[in-house]
Symmetry: C2
Subunit: 197 residues, 2 copies
């Protein structure tokens, strides 16, 4: 969001700059028209014409440089637009995924009930639904962050407690308190974990 706003501001600045450029160009064309009419019948015109020619050429060159400048800005804007569009598409599901995470947490908790003869059928059905939802998320590039057994990584793990388990290596995640999720290369929510000292 912030990035988008920043780009919009830059675009507005560019707008102003280009309007200026076009106005300047319009002025110099007007000035030229006037000079031409006023002095066309001057008999002692040769050197005046020469200097006028030079001025005109300089103005034309200036106009050409302005054209190049606008064109370059246009090209940059297009390149930036393509990049923005790709990023927007890449992370388009993020807002909805973010909203779904608490529901997924509760879903997992609900599935942890004891499976008896009476509840087996509904638990099986609901487990299938849970898997379908996770598959839908995966189809958009959202996946769980692996935690238990991994080396603690502050980029994807959030340590809520340090414990001492002498039978396990140091700095290893020994328990996951809440699942973490990433969307493609972006961490949406780090996994909350307990880490071995």
């Amino acid at each position: 969001m912030e990035e988008q706003e920043k780009n919009t501001n830059t675009a507005t600045e560019n707008d102003d700059k280009q309007e200026e450029v076009v106005e300047e160009a319009a002025e110099s064309v007007e000035v030229l028209d006037k000079d031409d009419t006023d002095e066309a019948n001057d008999s002692d015109a040769d050197s005046e014409l020469q200097s006028k020619l030079k001025a005109l050429q300089a103005e034309k060159e200036e106009l050409y440089q302005k054209l190049l400048r606008v064109q370059a800005e246009y090209d940059n804007f297009k390149k930036r637009t393509v990049k923005e569009r790709e990023a927007a598409l890449k992370y388009q599901s993020q807002d909805l995924i973010q909203e779904l995470l608490p529901a997924l947490d509760n879903f997992e908790r609900a599935l942890q009930v004891e499976k008896t003869e009476a509840t087996a059928s509904i638990i099986d059905g609901i487990s299938m639904v849970y898997k379908q939802i996770k598959d839908a998320l995966a189809s958009q590039g959202a996946e769980e962050i692996t935690a238990v057994g991994e080396e603690f990584d502050p980029n994807v793990h959030h340590a809520v407690m340090q414990i001492e388990a002498e039978d396990k290596p140091s700095n290893i995640v020994v328990e996951e308190v809440q699942k973490g999720y990433k969307l493609k290369d972006r961490v949406i929510r780090p996994a909350m974990v307990k880490v071995n000292k």
Copy 2:
């Protein structure tokens, strides 16, 4: 998606056009430089200078028109970009919602089991999760299409059967076979319904 591709094509065409414009402009500047050097010392120069001045002015005017043209294309591109960005943002969750719909259908089916003393607890927990998921969808603008009791609307209802219920008005949806969903003003999936004759 198709719209985006079309816009990319248009952008490429514009690219070609503008490169042409800049090349033309570069050529005319070169031609001018040469003329100037060749004929600067001509003693019978007055009328030649006059016509050269006119030509130069015409070239400058042409360059100015090109500048206006590039500027106008740039402005149009920017306006289109803003519109595209808005549309992409508006419907950004559509792909994931589309993937989630079959899971939601199954979720509803699973919740239709008989509630007994043994299953009450898990059904209540899971019903809450279902509501949370629907709320997450709603937060992105996705909602169920109303069907039963509504007048049949081919824009949002898909009739799978006509029935005859004399106690109900004609052309009214009497049963919903599968829920329909819309995302803001866009129908993602029409509701499958039975309609009264």
